[in-house]
Subunit: 748 residues, 2 copies
Amino acid sequence: MKNFQTLLLVLTVFYSCNDKKESTVSADENQHPKLILTKKGVEKIRASLGSVPIFDKTLEKVKKEVDAEIADGIKMPIPKHYSGGYSHDQHKRNMVVLQKAGVLYQILDDEKYAAYVKDMLMQYEAMYKTLPVHPKTRSYARGKLFWQCLNDSNWLVYVSQAYDCVYNYLSEEERNKLEKNLFKPFADFISIGNPQFYQRVHNHSTWGNAAVGMIGLVMDDQELIDRALYGIKDLKLDTTEKDDDGGFLNKDGKAGFLANIEEPFSPDGYYNEGPYYQRYAMYPFLIFAEGLHNVKSELKIFEYKDGVLLKSINALLNLSDADGDFFPLNDGQKGMSYYTSALVTAVDISYHFGDQDPGLLSIAAAQDRVLLDDSGLSVALGIKDGKIAPFNKKSINLSDGPNGKQGGVAILRNEDIELVFKYAAQGSSHGHYDKLSYSLHEKGDEILQDYGLARFVNIEQKGGGNYLKENKTWAKQTIAHNTVTQNETSHFNAKYEIGSQHHSVLNYFSSENENVQVASAKESNAYPGTDMLRTMAVIKDTDFEKPYMLDIMKVTSNKANQYDFPYYFLGQVLKTNFDYNTPKTLNTLGDKNGYQHLYVEGTAKASNDNSKLSWLNKGKFYTLTTLTNNNDELFFTRIGANDPEFNLRREAALMLRRKDTKNTLFVSAIEAHGSYSPVTESAVNSNSNIKELQVVLDTEDYTAVQITNVNDNVKLFITSNTNASKEAKHKIKINNKNYEWSGSYYFE
Amino acid sequence: MKNFQTLLLVLTVFYSCNDKKESTVSADENQHPKLILTKKGVEKIRASLGSVPIFDKTLEKVKKEVDAEIADGIKMPIPKHYSGGYSHDQHKRNMVVLQKAGVLYQILDDEKYAAYVKDMLMQYEAMYKTLPVHPKTRSYARGKLFWQCLNDSNWLVYVSQAYDCVYNYLSEEERNKLEKNLFKPFADFISIGNPQFYQRVHNHSTWGNAAVGMIGLVMDDQELIDRALYGIKDLKLDTTEKDDDGGFLNKDGKAGFLANIEEPFSPDGYYNEGPYYQRYAMYPFLIFAEGLHNVKSELKIFEYKDGVLLKSINALLNLSDADGDFFPLNDGQKGMSYYTSALVTAVDISYHFGDQDPGLLSIAAAQDRVLLDDSGLSVALGIKDGKIAPFNKKSINLSDGPNGKQGGVAILRNEDIELVFKYAAQGSSHGHYDKLSYSLHEKGDEILQDYGLARFVNIEQKGGGNYLKENKTWAKQTIAHNTVTQNETSHFNAKYEIGSQHHSVLNYFSSENENVQVASAKESNAYPGTDMLRTMAVIKDTDFEKPYMLDIMKVTSNKANQYDFPYYFLGQVLKTNFDYNTPKTLNTLGDKNGYQHLYVEGTAKASNDNSKLSWLNKGKFYTLTTLTNNNDELFFTRIGANDPEFNLRREAALMLRRKDTKNTLFVSAIEAHGSYSPVTESAVNSNSNIKELQVVLDTEDYTAVQITNVNDNVKLFITSNTNASKEAKHKIKINNKNYEWSGSYYFE
C-alpha cells in the first residue's frame, strides 16, 4: 500500500505536464481513448486517485496482477486445446491482461504497460496472419485462437479496449500493421467467415456483434460498425439449420446487435435464456453499449427499446437469491452470482448511465471492486459520499418475449422465502422442457431445487468443460423438474421445434398484499389436449413461524393419463406419515425421457388424506404436505442411474404418481420451520404446523383450499381459475357459506 | 445497549452499600456463593463491569435471555418425552435458565432473579417429591425429570450453581425444604438409586459424580462430596453387565470423579472416547473441578494426575479442524466444535487456572462470550489488555490409555492439510472397529471422511434423537472407515469384549522436520495372525502446490486373505485413469458387517500400475494415486443400501480389493490441488502432479516408495518398519545405490 501511495504522489506531481503532452496529440473527436475510457474521463480519474477507496483498491489489485504478468513474460501458445486446456486458458488470460494493461497505461500513464500491450499485440499479429482454423472440431463455428468463434469474439471485445488505450502510443505504421493483419481479418473471420455464428439472435452472436463493433469503433471503420449493429449486409441464411445445442441457427433471419437487444429481452428486461446466460451476454451488451454511447452518442443506445438494457440489469439482480446467486433457470450452472465480473460492469454502468439507484451501491460494495472507467468512478464516488442503501429485492413478475407477450417468470418473496415460478417461453436453445416448474429457496439455500445444468463449465476432465450428454437426457427433461410429467414423456416431446413455438400464459400475479404473494399461469401446449393451471402462493400467516408455500396445480385433460409430480427436496429424510418399502436392489423408474436416470429408493401406496414428508437441510427443517388419494403411489427417487461417468449429483426426490386420471388437482404446501445446530445440538420447532390441507371447492372457475393448522386455526385460499383480473368481483358459496371478494384470489 | 449502560451506572452507585449489606451476612468460610462464583470474585466482577467488553456483552445477552424467560413465566411440565420432545426440552431449558438467573442475581444484585430461581426451585420441589421414574423405558438408567439419569445429572450440575447463588437469599426453612425434598433425594436417586449409571468410569458417570459433588459442596454435605469423589462406598457391581451402547457397566470396579479423571485421560490429556465425548464430559469435569478448587482447595484438583484436566483442554483444542470442528473420531456427530458452551468453560478455566496462554484468548474471542465468573473475567481482561495471540495448532501425537500406553491419535498438519491417524484403544463403548484408520482434511473441509455417527442427536423424529441401528450395523463397522477390512469381517469381529482388550502400538511419530510429518503404528490383534503396519506422512515438496499425503499400509499374514481398502472421498468424480463398468441395477457389496449398506456403483479390473481417481469438492481438486496390480479389483460404492428410514447419507467411496493374498502393501498418495470457482468459472491446477508411485524396496525392516512427479523429479521415502527410534542408524542399498541415515525415516 505504501508503494502505491508513493505512486499516487508521483502521479500527482507529473500530472499537469503529462496532461499537456497528451492534449497536443489530437484535439479532434477521434482522439483516443474514446471507447470505454474517454480522454475526459481519464482526466477525472487521475484527479480522483487516492481519494476513492474502492476505485483505488481495484486499481492497486489490477496493477499487482498485471505487474506479475509482465514479470512472467508473454506466453503465446499455438492454439490447440478445448476450454480448460492450456492454450485456451492462456489466450483467455492474455485478452484480460491486455485489457487491464491498456487501462493501467491510461490511468497511471506508465509506458511499460503500453509497451507490454504493443508487444503482445505484435506477437498476435505475427501468429494470426498465418493461423489456420482451430484444430478441435467440436464446434459449429470453429475459431482460430480458440475452438469456437465465441471465444475468439470474447478476445476481440477485450482486445479492442486495449488497442484503444494504446492507439496513440503506437505509430501509424504499427497501427496499420495490426489493423491489416490482425484486427480486420479477425473481425471478418468471426462475422463473414462464420455467418452461422454471427448472423443470428443468440448470446453467441451478441459477443460477435460487440467484437466487430468495438474494433470498428476504435478503427473508425463504419462498415464494421454497421455490420455490428445490423448484421452482415444482404446475407440470408438457411433458416432450418441448427447449432450444437439444438437451437435454430437463424429461424427468422434477424441479426446484428440491435436485433439482439430487440429479440431476447422482454420489455421488463427479462432475457429469454435466463439469468445465467444473461449474465454471460451482459458484458458484450453493456460494454459495446458504453462504447456506442461514447463514440456514437447520436444512437442513444441506452434509451433503445425504452431503456431495456438498463432495465435488464435490474431484472437480473432480482433473479438472484439472498447470496446473490442466480436462480438456475434453464441450463444455468449453480453458483454463478452477481459477484462475477460481468455484473461489476452491469452494476457500475447501470448506476452511472441510469438514475444512480443507491441500492446498486450496496451491491457494488459487496462486489468490492469497480470498473476502472467513468462508471466505476461514479460508483466509487457514490460509496465514498455515503449514498449507499440496501438493494431491496421484492416479489416481481418479469414478462418474457420481445413484446412481453410470451409468459414470464415470477419471483415471490416474503422474509427469507423465495419462490421462482417459470411460465416463460422455451428460453432459446438453453431452455428446459419444464413448463410451470418452480424452485423454492430460503436465504440462499435451495429447499426444492431445479437441477439446472449437467455440465462442469471449463473443467476439461468433464467432457472438455462442455455440455455433457446428461444435459439432454436428464437436465432438459421434464421429470428433472418440479412440474407435471404426463405419461412419462417430456413437455413438447422434448422437441425444440415445438417447444419454441409456445409459451405459458399468465393467469394473474398479485403482490399488493405483503402477506400473500401469488402467481398463477396456464400451459396448454406442453401436452396437446391437456391444460395445466398452476397457482403458487407464498403466505405469511402469524400462526406460522415462517412464510409457507401453497401450490395448486389443476390439470384438465381430454383423456385419462398418468401424471408424475416430483418434489426435488435437498437434505435428509426425517419422517413421513406414510409407510413405504425400500427395495433390496435399486432399479430405474423408467428407461427414457430422464426416467432412466432415476433410481427408485422407496415406494408407497398413498392414502385418502394428506401425505407428509419432513426433511432436514443445512440446519433447517422443512415439511411437505400434499393431498393424496388411495390410488396414488409415492416414490422416493435418486438421481444417478445410467450415469456411467458420474456426471450427475446423487440427489433425491419424492414423487407422487397418479394413474388413469383425466382431470385432477395437485395441492401441496411446503413449510420451512425451525432449526438444528450441531453445536448446541438443539432442535427447534422441528414439526409441521399444518394439520390438514383440504380442497373444499374445485370448479372450472374456482379452486378453494382450506389450511388447518395444528391448533385448529383454519384459513381458506380461493383462486380464480378464469376471471382473475384485479377488478373482477366474485361471489360463491362453499359449504353453505357465502364468500364475496374482488380481485384474483381470496385468503382469510 | 443504552439501557444496559444505565444499569451499570445504577449498579456502580449502589455498589458499596450493597456490598456492606452482604458482608454482614456471614464472615466464615462457608459464605455463599462459593461454588463457581465466589464472594471475592463477585466483588471483582462488579467492580469491572462496563470496562470489559466481552464480559459485558455476554452479561447483556444472558440478561436479555433470562428477562425474556421471566416474562414468559415458569413452565413445569410433567416428564413425558424423549430428547427433542417437549417436556425434555423444557426441563433442559429450565436448568440452564436457573443457572443463569442465579449468576445474574449475584452480578447484578437484582432480587427479581433470586425470586425467579426460588419460585422455580419450589415448583421443582413440589413436583419432585412425588415424581415416579420417567415413563420412557429405553434407558438402562431411567431418570425422573428426564428419560435417562444422565439428563437428570445434567440438571443437578446446573441447578447446584443456581442454588449456591441464591443460598443466602433463601431462609433456612426454605433451604431445608429444598434440600430435604429435592436435592438430597435427587442426588441419592442418580447415585445410590442407579449404581449401574453412577458407579463406573464413563462420561455418564462423570456427570453423575459432578452432580452429586456439586450439590454436596453447596450443601456442605461431606457424605455426598465423598460419594462424588470416590463412588458409592462399599458397593461392588456385577462386572460383566453392559449398557445400551454395548459397553461394560463396570469392568474393573472403579468409580467416582477421581477414577473418572484417572482412567479415561491419557497423560497427554487425550480422552479415550474421543473429542466429541470429551467435549460433552468436559463441562462436568471442569465445573466440578472449579467448585472443588474454590471449596476444597486442599484437594489441588487442577494438579491431579500431573495437571491432566488442563492438559486435556489443550489436547481437545488440537483435535479440532481449521473451523474449530472436532475431528469425528468414534461416535462423534459432525459439526460439534469449540463454539459449544462446554468449550467456553474449558477455554476460560484453562486460561484462568492454567498459565494464561494468550493463544486461548483468540479462541475465546472467536467464541465471542465468556463464563460469567472469575475465569471469564480473567479472559475478558486478557483480551481487553491486548494479550491475545493466535492459537497455533501443530502436528501432535496424543497417547491413549490411563498411562499413555494404549496407542494414541496422531494429527499431522502442514499448511491447510490435516491428517488424523487413529491407532488408539477401543474408545470405550463409543469406539469404532477402525484400527489404523484416518481422515484427511483441508482447511476445515473433509477430503477423505470418517463417517462417524449414525444418529441425529436430539432430533426426536430420528429414533428419539438416540443412536440409530445403523450406528452399529454401519458406522461402527470396519468397512465404514479408511482402513483394511480382511475377509469382509470387522476388526475383532466387531466384538467389544475383544476390541476393548487391545490397542495399536506406535512405531514412530516424527514432526521435527516441518516439511515431513510422519506417524507410523502397528496393529496385531484386529485380525489374529495378521499384522498391519501403517505409515502415514504429510509431505510438503516445493514441486507440489500443496502438501500431499503418503500412505503405506504393510500387511503381513500367516494365510491368504481378501483385503478391502476403501477411500471415502467426498465430492464429484472427475476422472479415473482406469476403465470401469457401471451396473444397470444397484446391488449391495455384501450382506453383513456393514457391506450390506454399500451399493456397488461401478466395478473395474485394475492394471499393474498406478490407479488414479480425481474428484472435485467444494471448489477444490483432489487426486488419489494408488498402487495396484492386475489381480486387483476396484469398486465405486455408495452408502445407503438396507437403510429403510434414510438414516444414512448417500456418500461415495472408491474401494480397492485384493484377493488371495498373504502379505501385501497398499501404497497411496492423495494430493489436494487447485481450485474451481463457479463465479469465475475458471479451473486452476486441476490435474495431478504425480506421474508415478513405485515401491523400490519392501523388506521386514524397510519399505521404500519412490514418488515421481510430472516433471520427472524423483523423491524417495524410506520408512523403518522395525528399528524406528530417533537414534537408530540405517544403511541400505536400493538399486545399487547406498542410503545412510539416522532416525525413523528417510526422505529426499
